[in-house]
Subunit: 113 residues, 6 copies
């Protein structure tokens, strides 16, 4: 139905299969990936914004979606979101614009839930 | 119906929404992006070819489509197009081949309009 | 029907069209691309693994699919596959995870043929 | 004498020359680049951290240095700095490690001023 | 003495060594690389500008230098050069600015010869 | 004296400082990075070749040097090395050529030790 549910379902299903393979490096890396965004000297919200901007300049829609989901849950406002977009577009260039369009589309889907 | 119309409609709709948010940096950047390809010391056509090759080596299908549309409107020939493809593939490597396939497919859709 | 057939059919059709255009550089580059993975000082299998890891860190799903197909035909095991995934994810970062999910999905489609 | 002074002097000198050329797009882009990091819905400090993580995953030492300088002036702590490093390395992979080493070296030069 | 001579000497010396190894793929690729920029449907000058913008958005100083050298020899003006810079910076983002500074520095060294 | 010693000394010194900071994610990531290249379903040598080709297409000289050092210690021949170079250059494009030149230069320094 929604692009949010589709994304999350596919992500959950395939991550489960990746973990099931029991490759030590992959399992530890997945575990480390989650820990990276926990509260620390910087709050979780800032870290999720860092993850979002990094995925935008590296231009990976799926990774952008993941961080958009977390940012949405953490109460990031649309004004804040657009300031992350602006940093991503200035640093990463107009090549980030198509990803910005899809990011906004996904954000609207999050709001419509 | 066509991949050309789909692309243009989605682009127009989402760009409108991005502009509506009134983020100063994003608005000015979008404006600057259009100005970049205007006639100057180099003609608009050369600049669109520059934009196309840049989007090919950065491997962004949407951005490639945008510049293909402009190139088509400016009368770029298929021979010229393939010479841009050849520069992109040699500089950017075989990783650009899948994008070249999709670029040609889009070009054919532009011709079929 | 299957994502494997879809991918291969589209690839074959568009490659034929690219070759038909008779751009010398493109034709030679396509030819060179095939030669790159032939047996030499390193066996073809190792070279395909090199092609796979390179396409993963450069994050190109289509190119990943192509090398997955070759690796599958050459008898690469799932354990070996996951060790390539682990190198790709550690070198290229978590931005490679979405591509790893899709790579595994494609591998399962290869197994299901 | 110091890598900080060297970097800043070269940057100032060459930026002046770029501005002197009077290319409208370049001038506006430089102006927009400065505006991007001003206080807004997100504080300047967060934006500089965003700029830093973006330049780390895109692996540009000079751009990293620029944002390290701003972060240092804004009172970012070493603990916060390392949390940005951790996001950059997890998202962008071990390919970011050499840049992390040089970033730390530059940070120490900032502290030694 | 000059950064132009240093670059060209190192390039010539190492290319000779690479060719001496007699790896068929590498030799053909080097040959193909030269052919890419020859006059065709697009003039050599346009192709060199394409090579320059591609190397700027991919952010490779050495490759930028090579194309700057060719552009200089072909009589590209500083106004044209800056329009290539503007496309590169808008498409590729502010991460290209440090490379733009070094490109201008190299261009001045070409002029000073 | 040698570029090999310079590289290794700087790497060791800065890695020590990074570890000393006691950031959990960074420490675990460094540890995981080493484990990635251990013997498994694929032998260590193959994994180092994978690491080398990945660092070449991502165009990071320091990371290339690190894997060249490991490959040299593991008895990789110059013929094998050039086949990795050929995969990297075909996949990643001529933008990898300057890194190939520097890689060969470093390999010669390893041989000269």
């Amino acid at each position: 139905m929604s692009i949010v549910k589709d994304f999350n379902d596919h992500r959950t299903e395939m991550n489960k299969k990746i973990m099931a393979q029991d490759n030590l490096v992959m399992k530890r890396f997945f575990n480390l990936d989650s820990r990276t965004y926990e509260d620390g000297a910087l709050p979780k919200k800032t870290k999720e914004l860092l993850g979002l901007v990094a995925s935008m300049v590296l231009r990976c829609d799926d990774y952008i979606r993941y961080h958009l989901g977390s940012c949405y849950d953490l109460g990031v406002t649309k004004e804040e979101l657009f300031e992350v977009f602006s940093v991503a577009n200035i640093v990463g260039g107009s090549i980030c614009i198509p990803h910005t369009r899809r990011a906004l589309e996904y954000w609207e889907a999050l709001e419509a839930q």
